[in-house]
């Protein structure tokens, strides 16, 4: 597929601080790659396969231990995938999988490493992003220790409401875009446990679960429980 234009790259906040000439160099080194739903982009433990930035679609970041999976995050258009290998030459510390059809901008690993270390604005953006993700990871780890499953369910629902909730007459409506398995592995528990906890919230009148959507009826209570 064709290389992106500098205008397309300028719109990506991760690259916002780069000058026009730097964006041009980056654009020349880049190609767009298409991934099918569920296609693996790279695997945990493998050597760095390149720099990826999501052009369209979504990507799941997953850690696997034996047969168990933890969904670390679902990244959206504009977000870069694994940056850590460019900082320490190490392998990927998680796997990335397309969620639905996705198109990603791609730069091969060696070229990407040279560009990152040769472009101060890009290096600074990489360090900022990794720093911000570190903060998120520390919170994720503490939530797993401090919060029980119900509290973590409440927190995920509120985060989703904040990102994509639609205010309606009886509350905030969320499209059910996550499968039960995805929802559970985002919370860090088994499918049945996450589902039971969600049903309990429905019994208590805090949420209403329908086939295609969940309505948050009592956001204040949800926030108090999170």
């Amino acid at each position: 597929m064709r290389s992106p234009t500098t205008r397309e790259l300028k719109a990506i906040s991760f690259l916002a601080d780069l000058r026009a000439a730097e964006l041009e160099t980056l654009a020349r080194a880049m190609e767009a790659r298409a991934f099918a739903n569920r296609q693996i982009i790279f695997r945990e433990g493998n050597p760095c396969s390149g720099l990826y930035i999501i052009k369209t679609g979504q990507v799941k970041l997953i850690q696997t231990r034996k047969d168990k999976e933890q969904l670390l995050a679902i990244l959206q258009a504009g977000e870069p995938l694994d940056l850590v290998p460019f900082l320490d030459h190490g392998p990927h510390s998680f796997s990335a999988q397309a969620r639905g059809a996705a198109t990603l901008y791609f730069i091969p690993p060696e070229t990407a490493r040279d560009l990152i270390w040769g472009t101060p604005a890009l290096l600074s953006s990489v360090l900022n992003t990794v720093g911000a993700r570190l903060r998120t990871l520390a919170t994720l780890a503490s939530d797993l220790v401090f919060k029980d499953v119900t509290a973590r369910v409440c927190k995920i629902l509120l985060e989703q409401a904040h990102a994509e909730g639609l205010p309606q007459r009886d509350g905030i409506c969320l499209k059910r875009t996550l499968s039960r398995q995805e929802f559970a592995s985002l919370i860090g528990t088994a499918r049945e446990v996450a589902w039971r906890s969600l049903k309990k919230l429905e019994d208590e009148g805090v949420v209403k679960i329908e086939r295609n959507q969940i309505t948050l009826l009592d956001v204040e209570r949800l926030a108090a429980m999170a």
Partner: protein, 228 residues
């Protein structure tokens, strides 16, 4: 207190620095001593800069509204020695508390000075990159083990790491002294001291180790590895 070049080099992150680069760092670094249990920085405060643990141990921890504590990591000269890298870049507040576990000496560099040197000198930029990468990988392992394992495999994982780092091979097995109390061990594994005690008893019943306070003797390291 002034810091010598040898002092800085004793922290592995500075080992590859040229003499001239170390001189630059020496000009902006100060040594601070903390008594055991003193707070180095607090969660929610603006972050003044970077800390490098030279002597002793400093634990990074968070406190829940209930008062329960969770220790994210224990920083030492040879293990995750640099603290403060996360707020260094986003300028946001400290994401956790840091407390000296023993009498500790910590080297401090003010935020602005660290960023200035990193902008001008590749080796400082690479040091910060390495610190962020090390912390990222550590927290990745921590979150996956918290999400996917119960406390027993996490305890075993910690014991295996300690055994590898400072276990002594004796005729009885691999002996090691845990340098943490049961309470700290529990807060490090994200569980309660009672659960840790139960886990130890279960491992003893399985015949893989003997735990007398902080003294551990591992009889079957291979068996222990299989239990994760």
């Amino acid at each position: 207190m002034p810091v010598s070049a040898e002092d800085l080099r004793s922290i592995f992150l500075f080992a590859q620095f040229e003499d001239s680069e170390l001189e630059l760092v020496r000009e902006i670094v100060t040594a601070r001593d903390y008594p055991a249990r003193a707070l180095v920085f607090s969660q929610g405060e603006p972050s003044p800069g970077l800390w490098f643990v030279r002597r002793g141990r400093v634990r990074l921890y968070r406190v829940a509204p209930s008062g329960r504590e969770f220790t994210l990591c224990i920083a030492r000269q040879d293990n995750l020695p640099c603290l403060g890298a996360c707020p260094l870049f986003d300028g946001d507040r400290c994401p956790a508390n840091a407390q000296a576990l023993d009498a500790a000496t910590v080297f401090f560099i003010a935020r602005q000075r660290a960023l200035e040197i990193a902008a001008q000198h590749d080796s400082m930029a690479r040091l910060l990159a390495r610190v962020l990468a090390n912390h990222s990988r550590y927290l990745m392992r921590l979150t996956s083990s918290l999400a996917l394992h119960c406390s027993t495999p996490r305890l075993i994982d910690l014991l295996l790491t300690c055994a590898q780092e400072r276990g002594r091979l004796t005729e009885r097995g691999i002996e090691l002294d845990l340098d943490v109390s049961q309470n700290l061990l529990a807060s490090l594994l994200g569980t309660t001291p009672q659960t840790i005690a139960q886990d130890f008893r279960a491992l003893e019943r399985a015949g893989v180790l003997d735990a007398q306070g902080k003294n551990i003797i591992i009889f079957g390291i291979e068996q222990l590895k299989r239990m994760i």
